[in-house]
Amino acid sequence: MSHTSPNPETQARNEMEGDSKERNVSHKAKPNEPQGKFKIPNPSLILLIGPSGSGKSTFAHKHFKPTEILSSDFCRGLVSDDETDQSATNDAFEVLRFIAAKRLAAGKLTVIDATNVQVEARKPLVALAREYHYLTVAIVFNMPTKLCQQRNEARADRDLKPHVVRQQSQQLRRSLRGLKREGFRNFLYVMSTPEAVEAAHLERQPLWPNRTDEHGPFDIIGDIHGCFDELIDLLKALGYEISTQPDGNTVVEPPHGRKVIFVGDFVDRGPKVAEVLRLVMHMQRTGAAICVPGNHDVKLARALRGRNVNPTHGLAESLAQLENESTEFKTEIAEFLDSLVSHYVLDNGKLVVAHAGMKPELQGRASGRVREFALYGETTGEIDEFGLPIRANWADEYRGPATVVYGHTPVPEPQWVNRTINIDTGCVFGGKLTALRYPERELISVPAYQMYYQPIKPFLDEADEQSTLKTHRTDDILNIDDVLGKRLISTRLHHNVTIREENTINALEVMSRFAVNPKWLIYLPPTMSPTETTNKPGLLEHPTEAFTYYRKQGVSKVIWEEKHMGSRAVVIICRDPETAKKRFGIADDTLGICYTRTGRRFFEDTAVEAEMLKQVKEAVDNVNYWETLDTDWICLDCELMPWSVKAQELLKQQYAPVGASARIAFGEAVTALETAAERGIDVGRILDDYRQREEAVTNYVKAYQQYCWHVQSISDLKLAPFHLLATEGTVYFDKNHLWHMEMLSKLCERSENGLLFATSYGIVNVTDNASETEAICRWEELTEQSGEGAVIKPLDFIVQGKRGLVQPAVKCRGREYLRIIYGPEYTLPQNLERLRTRGLSHKRSLALREFALGVEALERFVHREPLSHVHECVFGILSLESEAVDPRL
């Protein structure tokens, strides 16, 4: 952008605020009819203005997409079935404005195809544009009245009396003069002949803040305030080459492909304002930097242009430092600062940089209020004890998808709050100068050499603890809008996952009544599908089918892990209660948590939980994973045994009664049949059948009771971890399962009280028969010795196959175990045959969606995304769990 061109945004601001005094930028008079070339800001609200028959609709369809055009005739038809029904006009315009509002909220270019010849008709549309910070464009069809009348007569579907058109033409002509004042100052295009209409050529221009095609990587630097030396230090730390030219100018060479973005406030308070400006302007000129203005910069520019401004807050110092500079340089500075665009939207809309932040609904828009917000943020209108304006907490409320990087208010440490981060670390007040690397999200700071300026409000004295807990404080309360209703959650693994409204209804109750504090709920385990049903006699599931599945998916190596019959448990363990407080925002002096697959606290007795967590922590201490994994906390996916700890009620209500009743029932039946047989009655087939069934029931009782044992104390519990899910800053989905099993078996070895229990496993090459056979033998052994079965997973944690995500695991349950699922007598041939028909596809699709959400939740948590973003995923898993799917799969 050339320095000499007036800032269109400033113009737009003046216009939209109706501020005619604020004319610090010279306007070039715009010709009303540029030679057929109309610049159309995108997005904008475009009003076609002209009498009926002046050619608006034809023009609209030539230059705009059908969906961009909102026509009053069409809306009349919508509400009345008759496009010409004038009595429907009011309703039609209500509909039109409603649709327009939705489009403007969504940031879409919108064309209003109505006569719009009366000021009363235009007014609400201009107001709507203001509300959504839209620029307005008027395209006027000032055609000869006769021509319009002729055209109307030729239309079979219109019966407009000539006087109506004449009246419209008069209204239009009366309007022409006032259109500029009404809000069409910059984009007013008038055409008076059919030739002009024919020759018109529209050129869409992205709005100034739109730089979505710049993808970085960027180094975004906070408020400098004349701290030149620190800026140089920081640029060096970021890898920029700094050299000094013979003329004394500093030249900056960015590392390959990188670019600086300055968040503004280059000047005031600090010692080397001129040097900073010279460097920043040079960097912008050479394309090494992008700048947005700060409030101090704007004020300096006004002062340099001779405006009467109050030289407070360090402005006097800036002016003094610039006093000896040449007039040219000062003009150059003023032009540079004036040219700066309020904020930028970059990287496909994923990054927004503005001096004082930017609300989602203002991002990428152009208006006076957008600029105000960018420069000053949002204030409540109140003044605090230091005489400073109290700032409204836009960041606390922020729910936008874009990351917003800003400065303006000094903070001791940058803190992520809802995808926003303030990187003004008060260098000029003796703090530090900070850069955020994007997309790496790494923070790099250099300390200030001294305190150059005494802050009015001591920002560094803020109690340290309070500031580190800020993220948690503002994040404390989740919003019902973040969870209720139909939801679409975008995941990095599996596109968008849709959560149906009726499922969120169930999840809300479970989450509210039974789940642990949402801050602990950073993950919920996905459901797991069984293998395809086998045709092997006497069996429903067998490893062969699992191996075949993965082979078909192009996976050659899989791992089998023993499936423990207990209850799924997620364990988060912290190095100390301080970590729980700082990282998780849980300040009740606990070391972590153990929760079930539906997010409930595993142990009602907090003493048992505390003891268990202590023992897990000791094991982590012993293997020193705190150092190895560079973390203060670990999240583990586990199975907790015995089953009877959590399933006591189920056992007493369902499993034990079935065993007790069936044994007696069959015992008595067999005795009676035998007695009858002794009498010589031919009961042969029935007796045999009942003897078999009696045995099946005995096996059933054996099967369930071996997963039960008395738990008197923690020493009766076994915790078998099988995924090392995440630690600070890292998830371990890029590590294969062998890594997980090895890391965890080391941990289990060092569990002194024997709480932690290593899971047996083996690697299988599914393209090698011998390897498969060996694994099958192990599975048979395991299931014969009371094992539940095996979980078979691709060796890599996440596998994307030809047709998308591959099942992260399938379970293969043993013959005896399945009695607990399909009933004592399921193995009888007549039963087994019927049970073989079972559909897996719904279960499998559910498993993938839940897996993707679980991974997403952890990714978001380790990347310090706001609680609501993590919670959304976990809530989604809980919602999916209420989908109706065969519970036996």
């Binding site: 404390d476 949402p518 029932a665």
Partner: protein, 468 residues
């Protein structure tokens, strides 16, 4: 499931005539849920035993055509006791396999069918909800000698306790048809389940089979109630029909007893709701929230007060809201009433802009259902974000629990209560709220106040400080 019927009437083998089943053969009958076999383990002159072996198809129960049976948890499970125990399946089998005997017909020995003979019944496994006591109360008045053996859930885990199953022997001298009728009605009553949909037709069945004996049975009410699956309107109708024949004997006294039992519970709740309504009225609130409205008892009271122009009921349970909607006849309310009332699902664990801007909120017997650790969130959601001018909140006073005779010491009043507070604890909490969020508070007792332990329920009325 095995049902054995024996007699010592001489010649005992005449039992075969009565049952229309030949003692020398085994016979099988197809049923919609499996099959039944009839055979005689013993058939001698002095004693004869017929056995009905009911063979319920366990897989068929789950994989049945939709709508064949009642949608019921136990039937949807493969791991289910239904195939193994005496239940309504057995009643159906009796009616099917022994239909003539049940109706007292006997082609070959018509006299015998009218004769009272010594009979013994053995049920291999009979589920008794209500235990041996109920078993005896049901059969002994009909003249039976009852022997019952209880079974443990699992002998290896004695701490799991006894199951609800009994092996039962019943002895009586009566007509076979009487005996079968008793079994037909009372087995599902003891089991307290039915595998099929219970509707009006079930009343007819009950009256048909209970014709001779039910009207005089001391457990008449509970038999009818359970037989008709606790459906009040059916029970009422059936009892009315029974009593017509019974000249309205002791039914009034029974009803009075029932009421007195309920009175004690309902009484407190009534007082509580009246106090809350009064407190809301006193606050001169026009737009009120009932947070955790449950099935809508308070909402009904609020609707009756013209002062409340807008009433919102919120609950976390969608099911409760549906019930509230039904109980309040929401869909049939006159327009004027309907527009004052709104119901929606929400949670006190989430900030909710729908709750902002109301004059008052009632939170009646709700906070004790929240985990103590989550209370802080509730406090902010209510007092910081919704911040109504008045908050009326009630919760149990744990000190009073000693006054409840049927409450075990140390237990909370409700299984889902996460805590119950003493008066001091409640008041300390409420006072902290006032300091943190700028409210004042006044406490009120609800219910009869005991000198030592205070009232059963405690209420706090918070008022937002506005002028500060």
């Amino acid at each position: 499931m095995l049902l054995k019927i024996s007699t010592t009437y001489a010649p005992a083998t005449d039992l075969g005539y009565l049952l229309h089943k030949h003692p020398a053969r085994i016979q099988s009958f197809g049923l919609s849920f499996g099959q039944a076999h009839v055979f005689y383990p013993e058939a001698r002159g002095e004693t004869c035993t017929a056995a009905l072996l009911l063979d319920v198809d366990p897989v068929g129960l789950v994989r049945r055509p939709h709508g064949q049976f009642e949608e019921n948890f136990a039937l949807a499970q493969y791991v289910s006791d239904r195939p193994y125990v005496a239940s309504s399946f057995l009643s159906v089998a009796i009616a099917r396999v022994f239909s003539s005997a049940l109706s007292g017909k006997c082609k070959d020995r018509p006299q015998l069918a009218e004769t009272e003979i010594p009979l013994k019944v053995e049920l291999s496994i009979l589920p008794c909800r209500g235990g041996e006591i109920l078993l005896r109360r049901l059969f002994e008045p009909l003249g039976y000698t009852v022997t019952a053996e209880s079974h443990a859930l699992n002998a290896q885990f004695p701490d799991w306790g006894q199951s609800r199953y009994f092996t039962v022997t019943l002895e009586n001298t009566c007509r076979l048809s009487e005996l079968l009728t008793h079994l037909y009605v009372l087995i599902p009553v003891l089991d307290d389940e039915k595998h099929y949909w219970v509707g009006d037709a079930e009343i007819e069945k009950l009256l048909k089979h209970g014709n001779d004996w039910l009207a005089a049975h001391p457990e008449q009410e509970s038999i009818v109630h359970r037989y008709l699956k606790h459906q009040r309107h059916l029970t009422r109708e059936a009892l009315a029909q029974l009593r017509e024949e019974d000249a309205q004997e002791n039914s009034d006294t029974i009803q009075a007893q029932e009421e007195a039992q309920v009175e004690e519970r309902i009484g407190l709740n009534e007082i509580r709701l009246a106090s809350v309504t009064e407190a809301l009225k006193q606050s001169s609130a026009k737009r009120v929230l009932d947070l955790g409205c449950g099935e809508g008892k308070l909402l009904r009271k609020l609707l009756a007060e013209k002062q409340f122009e807008e009433i919102v009921g919120m609950d976390v349970s969608h099911r409760a809201l549906r019930i509230a909607q039904e109980r309040l006849h929401y869909d049939r309310l006159p327009e004027k009433l309907k527009e004052r009332l709104r119901l929606f699902q929400g949670s006190l664990g989430y900030r909710d802009k729908r709750l902002a801007g109301y004059d008052a909120a009632a939170i009646v017997e709700v906070i004790e259902h929240l985990d103590l650790a989550r209370l802080a969130t509730f406090e902010r959601v209510l007092f910081e974000f919704a911040c109504p001018r008045t908050v009326v909140l009630t919760t149990p006073n744990i000190e009073y629990n000693v006054q409840f005779e049927n409450l075990k010491a140390g237990n909370f009043r409700h299984k889902d209560h996460r805590f119950e507070w003493t008066r001091d604890e409640f008041q300390a909490w409420a006072t902290r709220i006032t300091k943190r969020f700028g409210y004042t508070v006044v406490f009120h007792p609800i219910g009869p106040e005991d000198e030592n332990v205070g009232p059963p329920t405690q209420m706090a009325v918070f008022t937002r400080k506005i002028d500060e």
